[in-house]
């Protein structure tokens, strides 16, 4: 079966005063039909840049896709003309962002912003568009949708705004939803509601989801598969249950231990020492080597290759690869 989205060797760099900086390096992964894949990493890992690059939303300059392909239903999005790309964006691929207040236009009513998408992609206008807006708002669980449709973003709570964003992303029944930290700005009880809504709509509309997040709790709850990024590179990929039960890369192990609030021997919280390397001063070999307890001389010599184990798990670490062999 052909995957819905296939990212193949994607590299993105940004121009800076100190020369080009690689934000994403040789990233490859695929999302199958009806699958939820989580792209996980901390700030600077390149996860959001990768997501933006899929829809060619990276401002250029300073950003530039250096190489790679983004195959959506077999077509390379990076090669499409602007007109063809517009037909995909918001229609076949929907996107929701972390901060709905930034993504919604404050001077348009809810109805007008949602109707704009309907007009562009489905040619709906007037009464027909408004009816569709109201039924969409009802679908995403907005109470009193007729009233809400006439209101402005500032009249809505954070959870309601995120629901409006989801309604906008879903109105053309996309094959793929890209959700960049969709619940980070929300309170936990509202977060639970929004995650459940996405799950619900996913099974009803049969779409695939790319979930970008730093929250391992959200990942464990929603994703089938996890791609872990560190310093611009994929360091591990595997089925969620498998990866959470037996992480192979020392970074993934550390991340999960920190997320579980595990204790060190002296009773303090377990921590990953040091900080993420600056993109201007990337270590020559494995990006995680300076913070890694298992690192040896070879780790600093060259970037480790991705190793695939029998169960389809991938890891970029020479120590883990030896253990698996």
């Amino acid at each position: 079966m052909r995957p819905v989205l296939e990212i193949d060797g994607l590299s993105v760099e940004f121009a800076s005063a100190r020369g080009p900086v690689a934000a994403v390096n040789d990233l490859s992964f695929a999302i199958g039909e009806g699958e939820t894949v989580a792209l996980v990493g901390e700030s600077g890992s390149g996860k959001s840049t990768a997501a933006m690059a899929i829809l060619r939303l990276i401002a250029s300059p300073p950003g530039r896709v250096v190489k790679g392909r983004v195959l959506f239903e077999g077509v390379d999005l990076l090669g499409l003309s602007p007109a063809d790309l517009r037909k995909v964006r918001g229609d076949r691929i929907g996107m929701i962002f972390q901060d709905p207040m930034m993504a919604l236009n404050p001077v348009y009513t809810v109805a007008r912003q949602i109707a704009e998408v309907l007009e562009v992609h489905r040619g709906l206008a007037g009464r027909a568009a408004l009816d569709e807006v109201v039924s969409l708002l009802r679908l995403v669980g907005v109470p009193a949708p007729e009233t809400r449709a006439g209101q402005y973003p500032h009249n809505l709570s954070g959870g309601m705004r995120q629901r409006v964003m989801i309604a906008m992303a879903l109105e053309c029944k996309p094959r793929l939803l890209i959700a960049d930290e969709p619940t980070t700005a929300l309170d936990v009880t509202v977060q639970a509601q929004v995650l459940r809504l996405i799950e619900d709509l996913k099974s009803r509309l049969g779409m695939s989801v790319l979930l970008i997040t730093h929250d391992m709790g959200v990942v464990s709850q929603s994703a089938h598969r996890v791609v872990v990024m560190y310093a611009g590179r994929k360091v591990e990929e595997g089925a969620t249950r498998d990866l959470f039960a037996a992480p192979r890369h020392p970074y993934t192990q550390g991340l999960l231990r920190a997320a579980r609030r595990a204790r060190a021997d002296d009773g303090t919280l377990w921590e990953i020492r040091g900080t993420v390397p600056s993109p201007h001063a990337m270590p020559p070999g494995c990006g995680f080597a300076p913070r890694c307890d298992c690192a040896r001389a070879a780790c600093a010599a060259a970037v480790p290759e991705l190793t695939r184990t029998a169960d389809g798990h991938e890891v970029r670490c020479i120590v883990a690869a030896e253990g698996a062999a």
Binding site: E42, A192, A258, R260, R261
Partner: protein, 333 residues
């Protein structure tokens, strides 16, 4: 027995608001009858969703806000209505670390200048002595002397938060109020900052008031946890009791909604409550949670429950202790 570091009794903070030029004046009930104590050297966590009043409470504890009613005591002395001049010498007792170290450090000051500032205001040290003390303080939070010459933009988020903590430490406080101190940081860095705060508490006996929405974190680090909803404390218990299971339906739902890394099979993390927090301008009658509570009965809308002792903790619910949480999907967390 010594007096607690901080004590608030029946604290009330109302903000008058007017939504438009012809609209009647209304009142935001940010805090309504909050009572709690901060004991020496303890970690007290205050949790709740946005708008519950936890940050207003923090600002009142620091006397950055004038409370509308109630009493605030610092080491047993009433500071509720002291003016700015009278407060100034007392400010060194209670310090604050904010969520966003990008916003709380002046970007045009070097770390050395930032560190010397509280020392200049609160001590009689000379310029040279301040410099030495600043380096000592940075060493305590794990930063080398070379940071004195740097500027905030050259530091990572975790390093900036260390500087903010070192500044709070400069005046040898008895309590540090930490308002979401790690929520802007990556999870691998969070533990470093938490461990630092915990070490300071142990070594210097500083009480920590930890304001957070991260329930998985506070369950692990706090001695006591207060859960707030719409300006009131709905449950106050020690952390072990909270880990065993909250007794108020709201705190129960809040802890159940937090996604865990290792979900228990068969238990969904879905919040057993729907809807949004009501507006603090017109809080619901009776129990403020009754509009979202699965267990609400008729009298919940009529009479407001008071905070009462239930099984070794305080709970603001008429029916606490008799509720069957097994009815909920997420109830067994």
């Amino acid at each position: 027995m010594t007096a607690p570091v901080l004590e608030v009794v029946d604290l009330v903070k109302h903000y008058p608001v007017r939504r438009g030029p012809f609209e009647p004046r209304k009142i935001v009930h940010a805090l309504d009858g909050v009572s709690l104590t901060v004991r020496r050297g303890e970690t007290l966590a205050i949790v709740g969703e946005s708008g519950c009043g936890k940050s207003t409470l923090a600002r009142c504890l620091l006397r950055l806000e004038d409370p509308t009613g109630g009493t605030i005591r610092l080491h047993g002395a009433d500071i509720t209505s002291l003016d700015a001049d009278a407060m100034r010498p007392l400010r060194r007792h209670v310090q604050i670390v904010f969520q966003d170290p990008y916003a709380s450090l002046n970007p045009r000051w070097s770390i050395g200048t930032l560190m010397a500032d509280p020392l200049r205001l609160h001590t009689k040290l000379s310029r040279a002595e301040r410099r030495v003390r600043a380096a000592e303080l940075l060493a305590i939070v794990g930063l080398g002397g070379e940071f004195l010459e740097r500027y905030p933009h050259e530091l990572s988020g975790g390093q900036r938060q260390r500087v903010a903590i070192a500044r709070a430490l400069a005046v040898e406080p008895d309590a540090i109020i930490c308002d979401e101190p790690v929520s802007a940081l990556d999870v691998s860095i969070q533990a470093q900052v938490i461990n630092l705060l915990m070490r300071l508490r142990r070594e210097f006996g500083i009480a920590l008031v930890f304001i957070s929405h991260d329930l998985s974190l506070v369950k692990h680090i706090a001695d006591r946890i207060a859960v707030m909803y719409l300006g009131q404390i709905v449950e106050l218990a020690d952390a072990a009791g909270m880990r065993e299971g909250a007794k108020h339906p709201y705190s129960r739902a809040l802890f159940a909604a937090a996604p865990t890394v290792d979900p228990v099979p068969g238990v969904s993390c879905e919040a057993p409550i729907g809807g949004d927090v009501p507006s603090p301008i017109d809080p619901p009658s009776g129990c403020r949670f009754h509009t979202r509570c699965a267990f609400a009965k008729d009298d919940c809308a009529l009479t407001a429950p008071s905070l009462r002792a239930v099984e070794g903790r305080s709970v603001r619910c008429h029916y606490a202790g008799e509720l069957d949480f097994a009815r909920w999907a997420g109830g067994s967390s």
